[in-house]
């Protein structure tokens, strides 16, 4: 059974007084331990889909089923319980955290809010989470603004996995990282996926990264799905105009490899 099934999702905004469809008739599903990438140019609806799946905004039409339940029909305590199972990591971890918080505080929040660990048990759980994402437990006392960008994104991942989610929405989660750090973060995400069978909704503008981490890809154009399929196939032989344009625009590193 799929973790997430999105059917005929639609979200309209008004721009300059005129209605426009940010997301229009979008359907897809993600299976356990699978990475579905969502690609497309700016304004194609990538981040709107992320917000809809996280229920940060409500759709105008369509259905979102998460672990077999109609997510849009949930409210109150049942919604809160489901929310623990859907986590998120954004592009800029500095903007995603209270900048004055310590690393420990950032990781304590989900453990407390979702009643995952008792107060006495939480320091041990925080240390284990840090270790799980490749950070020294001693980092717990540091302020969020004191640590490096790569460390901060590891903390964001630690916070996301604290509630043992079955789906993580990654919205341009590695786009702001240096390439040397980016590779390590992608390896960490894949390792977590293998171990915990987490599904990823991986939103990115970068087809190279998508090819490296995604099983399947959905390419959006003006809120609609232009094409979808196996990530390697779509990138090797895009069928839609926007898919072809994205592939053509991706910088190539032409090397005479030994």
């Amino acid at each position: 059974m799929s973790v997430l099934t999105v059917s005929s999702l639609a979200k309209r905004y008004r721009r300059g007084g005129k209605p426009f469809a940010a997301v229009d008739d979008v359907s897809f599903e993600i299976n356990p331990a699978e990475t579905l990438a969502v690609a497309g140019p700016s304004g194609s609806g990538k981040s709107t889909i992320a917000k809809l799946v996280l229920r940060l905004i409500e759709p105008d039409a369509g259905r979102i089923d998460f672990e077999g339940q109609d997510l849009l029909a949930l409210s109150g305590a049942t919604l809160r319980a489901k929310r623990a199972k859907v986590q998120m990591v954004f592009q800029d971890p500095l903007a995603a955290f209270n900048p004055r918080a310590t690393v420990a505080r950032v990781l304590d929040d989900p453990l407390r809010t979702h009643n995952i660990a008792s107060r006495a048990d939480r320091p041990r759980r925080i240390a284990a989470l840090l270790e799980r994402v490749g950070l020294d437990a001693g980092l717990a006392a540091r302020a969020i603004h004191e640590i490096s960008g790569g460390q901060r994104q590891r903390v964001a991942i630690a916070r996301a996995i604290a509630t043992r989610p079955s789906l993580i929405v990654l919205d341009e989660a590695v786009s702001a990282l240096d390439v040397s750090v980016r590779g390590q973060i992608l390896e960490l995400l894949l390792d977590l996926q293998r171990q915990e069978r987490i599904a990823y909704l991986f939103i990115s503008h970068d087809l190279g990264v998508i090819r490296a981490v995604a099983h399947r890809v959905v390419i959006l154009d003006a809120g609609r799905i232009a094409e979808s399929g196996d990530a390697r196939d779509v990138i090797a032989k895009p069928q839609s105009a926007i898919g072809k344009a994205l592939v053509a625009a991706t910088p190539r590193l032409i090397r005479n490899r030994p």
Binding site: T35, P41, S42, G134, G149, D178, V179, S180, R182, G183, Q184, L186, E187, L188, L190, D191, Q193, H205, D206, L207, G208, V209, R211, A212, V213, H215, A231, R232, I235, A245, L246, V247, A248, A249, T250, P251, R252, L253, I254, R255, N256
Partner: protein, 332 residues
């Protein structure tokens, strides 16, 4: 090829954290070349761009030499520029194409005899208390003027354009100031420039405000303003990093075309080695404020001499990237 700018042993230290942003960097920028400067965050690539443009704030410690070899027409009789007191630590550099405009408008008002060259004093080093030795005036007069001799394109066009000034006026201001055109001529020039950067609806765009344009269109406007006075050198500092892939490719080809048409020298600052390689004749690799390697693009890609350059190349994920999930037991 002739040398446009010779940089020797350039060191820059920001006072806010005491960290050396550049450590003894020496390189020549050749007239007419497209030079990419690449590196990761903290490598000093933007500091190098700001130093070349004379945009580093007054409190920044600078050591070393920068010698310019501009054609006689440029820099000879024009007034020296004012270094606007903008501090990178406050993030204000990013918020203004106004750098050149601000400097220019002060000169335009005339009568300000305290004008100094952007790097005068800065380059010759200053004591801890802020006293400064002036560089020999011969060197100072040959320093190029930002806006007239150097065009600068920043990463974020939303913050580099004035939000409450019409597009046409922002471009015309550069031509009015540096080319001494009348306003009517300058506006006509702005219209020509909008056409050159391929913006549609020229008359409407002249009167439009930045918020009415898309990110890519705003960057085209910023480029039009940067080249309005026909500078010898164009510096693009991560000028396409905030744009999506398709718009990025369009802006890179626009820069390539404009540089070729006007015979400009280009310094292209980027974190993306593949993007840099698509545009540059030569690539300089910076790391932790040091110049790691400088070579022809082909040599950097195919025969990198430094392990760090190889690591950057290997970390690139291109359209031929092997899926990571196929690799068994790869270390995290």
């Amino acid at each position: 090829m002739t040398v446009l700018l010779s940089i020797r042993d350039l060191s820059v230290r920001y006072q806010r954290d005491g960290v050396a942003a550049l450590k003894g960097v020496s390189l020549d920028v050749l007239a007419g070349e497209r030079l990419a400067i690449i590196g990761e965050s903290g490598s000093g690539k933007s500091t190098l761009a700001l130093a070349v443009a004379g945009l580093l704030a007054r409190g920044v410690e600078i050591g070393g030499r920068m010698d310019w070899f501009l054609p006689a027409s440029a820099g000879a009789k024009a007034p020296l520029s004012v270094l606007p007191d903008i501090s990178p630590s406050r993030g204000e550099i990013g918020s203004s194409v106004a750098g050149p405009l601000l400097a220019a408008s002060k000169i335009g008002e005339g009568g300000d005899h305290s004008v100094i060259s952007p790097l005068e004093g800065e380059m010759s080093g200053r004591t801890e208390r802020g006293a400064k030795d002036r560089q020999p005036s011969a060197l100072a007069t040959s320093h190029p003027l930002l806006g007239r001799d150097i065009g600068f394109v920043f990463q974020d066009p939303s913050s580099s354009l004035d939000p409450v000034m019409p597009i046409g006026k922002q471009i015309a201001e550069v031509a009015h100031t540096h080319l001494h055109l009348t306003w009517r001529e300058a506006i006509a020039k702005a219209k020509t420039l909008l056409e050159r950067v391929r913006l549609p609806n020229l008359d409407a765009t002249l009167h439009a405000y930045p918020h009415q344009l898309s990110g890519g269109q705003k960057q085209r406007v910023a480029i039009a303003a940067a080249i309005a006075a026909a500078p010898k050198l164009l510096i693009a500092d991560e000028a396409t990093s905030a744009l999506d892939t398709i718009v990025q490719a369009e802006i890179v080809s626009l820069i390539r075309r404009l540089v070729a048409e006007d015979g400009m020298t280009l310094i292209f600052i980027s974190h993306d080695i593949a993007l840099a390689a698509s545009l540059a004749d030569r690539i300089a690799v910076l790391r932790h404020g040091e110049l790691v390697e400088l070579g022809e693009t082909d040599q950097i890609l195919n025969a990198p001499r430094h392990a760090y350059t190889r690591a950057l190349l290997d970390a690139h994920l291109g359209l031929d990237a092997e899926p990571l999930f196929d690799r068994q037991g790869s270390p995290a």
